[in-house]
């Protein structure tokens, strides 16, 4: 038996024993496990499952063991994910610490910092949030104004951040701050970590046009931050930021439709919805103009999915990773917006309700999701920014 086959059998057996049965059922959104100091476990099994997984480092399976990770290689991780999928296990931990901060620390932090920060992330003990965007900066992220002044034995942070997801629940923040106001804008930025319970930190949730949201505004009023909380070199934080942004872009692009080609499934599939709401004639969507629009959309979705696949295949075949993330971010988010507009067109007034029992739950959801989709082409770099990147970096058009 190969090592990998043995790994699979051991993993399967361990999961069988350590994944509580209730963690193998579909997860309601309010049972998502984010961890953190103030975590509340609606279902106590969530905590058991988190602790079990964390004990093996499998909340961050590919991080080195010395920092609490699972130390798995690519092939082993693939098997772990397959086995988790086989039993439909819930994610043990959802964490910006694992998704975003961890990879940055692994690449840019000092040995001491890695040892200090990474293990509590793996164990879900500390919940992190991201302090990037600012009210005034928008697409010009590097134009950020939140400043950290060197006060000798600490930095003094003043300013505010916006679009900080779950800032009101987070324990710590990783934050871009301006440490040299005189330097060109990209060269005066540093990457700082600090505790959200520090005096002077306040948060305020943001109400979106689609309703309540995880986003917050976060304010810093003379927040004292120890100097050892700086990651990487002073004034070199932009390098770390860029690495993180690329990552975020890829995540958001994934919100679009996948390679399946249907452009959404079930009650989010335009063709299914159109038959239900606009009616059928001879097995076809009754409204021919709507049918044509849906076919065009679904064909684009399929072409997009094939392009994601092709890029993956090319990478596997050893091609240098293309600057594809901007294309995926741009096309995927615009496509997702178009999907929701098609759903609205097909569903008419039933997709335009706000509350009341006269609408079905999924109908009310679609109204909100439609509005929420409008942010896709703004967050993580606007569509315009992605087009700029494609024009300049991919096509080499001049400034």
């Amino acid at each position: 038996m190969s090592d990998l086959e043995q790994f699979r059998q051991e993993t399967r057996a361990w999961l069988e024993e350590n994944c509580p049965p209730s963690m193998r059922t579909p997860m309601p959104e309010d049972e998502t496990c984010w961890g953190g100091r103030n975590a509340v476990y609606k279902n106590p099994d969530s905590k058991v499952w988190l602790d079990n997984m964390a004990s093996r480092g499998w909340t961050a399976p590919m991080w080195p063991k010395e920092y609490g990770g699972g130390g798995l290689n690519k092939d082993e991780n693939k098997i772990l994910q397959q086995e988790l999928g086989r039993i439909r296990a819930r994610p043990a931990l959802s964490s910006f610490g694992i998704w975003m901060l961890g990879p940055a620390l692994l690449e840019f932090a000092s040995e001491e910092q890695k040892k200090h920060y990474l293990p509590p992330i793996v164990r879900g003990e500390i919940r992190w949030c991201q302090g990037y965007s600012e009210p005034g900066a928008g697409s010009d992220l590097a134009g950020l104004q939140t400043k950290a002044e060197d006060m000798g034995d600490h930095y003094l942070v003043n300013g505010s951040k916006i679009w900080t997801s779950y800032a009101n629940f987070a324990d710590w923040i990783f934050c871009l701050v301006r440490t040299n106001p005189q330097a060109p804008k990209h060269e005066g930025i540093s990457f700082l970590l600090f505790d959200m319970t520090s005096p002077g930190v306040t948060t305020k949730p943001i109400q979106l046009i689609s309703g309540s949201s995880p986003f917050c505004e976060t304010f810093f009023d003379n927040v004292k931050v120890p100097k050892e909380n700086l990651v990487g070199e002073l004034n070199k934080g932009w390098t770390i930021a860029k690495a993180l942004l690329q990552h975020e872009r890829t995540m958001i692009a994934g919100m679009g439709s996948g390679p399946g080609g249907g452009g959404g499934s079930g009650l989010r599939s335009p063709s299914v919805v159109a038959k239900k709401y606009a009616g059928e004639a001879d097995g076809r969507i009754a409204d021919p103009a709507l049918r044509d629009s849906i076919a065009a959309h679904n064909m684009n979705s399929r072409a997009f999915g094939l392009t994601v696949q092709r890029t993956t295949d090319e990478a596997k075949a050893g091609a240098p990773p293309g600057p594809a993330s901007s294309m995926f971010k741009y096309y995927g988010t615009e496509q997702n917006k178009r999907k929701y507009e098609l759903l609205l067109q097909a569903m008419g007034t039933q997709a335009l309700g706000w509350e009341d029992s006269t609408f079905e739950e999924h109908e009310l959801s679609i109204t909100r999701e439609w509005l929420r989709s409008k942010a896709n082409s703004i967050e993580g770099g606007t569509s315009e920014v992605q087009l700029n990147i494609i024009a300049k970096r991919v096509l080499g058009l001049p400034e």
Binding site: S133, G138, S139, I162, I209, A289, T349, K374, T382
Partner: protein
Amino acid sequence: MALVLNEDQQQLKDAAHAFIQDKSPVSALRKLRDEKNPDGFDRALWQEMVELGWPGIIIPEEYGGSEFGYTGLGVVLQEMGRTLTASPIMSTVLIGASAYMLGASEVRKKAMLPEIAAGKKIVALALEEGPRHAPYNIATRGGPSVDGYRISGEKTFVLDGQVADELIVVARESGEPGDRDGLTLFLVDANAAGVKITPTRMADSRNAANITFNGASASGDKIIGEKKKGADVLDAILDRARIGLAAEMLGAIEVAFETTVEYLKTRQQFGRPIGSFQGLAHRAAEMFCEVELSKSVVLDALSAIDDNRDDIAQAASLAKARLNDTFHLISCEMLQMHGGIGMTDEADIGFYMKRARVAAATFGDSAFHRDRYATLEGY
């Protein structure tokens, strides 16, 4: 008629502008929403509009109106559209008064039009039975009974149905859903037995209602248009509704566009106002063209009614389809160009976005009207 406002119309527009800006900014709609106002509009504000004579604008003088025509009503709707003002003017005046003027008996006109002009009655059209506009797709039955008629069926998206005194109910006396023949427009008391009204709250913060008729009684004398030929008057009523709604949408489009252009001039990114980036500038210029064309079709459609032209239907479909599309475009660009701030409820942008979609779904989306236009033009 020339495609410009005459002096009287311009004066009315200026006065409406001043009134609406003062009394009913977008914050008024926000307040209605946050308070979950059960009426869906501000009764005190409506009373002030009544005092200004707005409900009587299209009503002939002999019935207590000011006979100012649809172009007059259009400019008022346009001004209300600028701030997304909610009021019963669409249900009661644009649709209700039009219905009476087009198809009521002299007795009914004399009884009802002065009441509407005086702001004493609210009228609603109970038409739709599915989520997408389909005026002949009527299953609601109107059948004779010993004391007149009995109406049974289910209606949805009845604008102002929750506050109406009287309902104009499109019901079928013969034929099958989809047939143009066999429809009759009955007048039904909203408080009659067998009428069950369930308010719905739409994304644009306006109200509508689902209404169930369970053998509700109607009189054979109280109808609009001819029995079983109701589609003729219904089409005429709907065309007026579409054109007036297009005028309202135009006002909202103008504000959305002006606000966006202003933001492009002032918002700084990368050390420059964002409107100096050609990518955005060209999109703004394209929007300008769409808005200009939208102004023209609304003005033309309004004057088509006032001149009693024979192409009102084409003008209505042209106006509704174009205003749907332009409002869609401008509301999307408004949000995208404002960036993150546009996504916050604190900004007014979401209100325009939501109104754009509800208005588009009201009385026919663009595909409906392109199809209708092609049919009317013979291809």
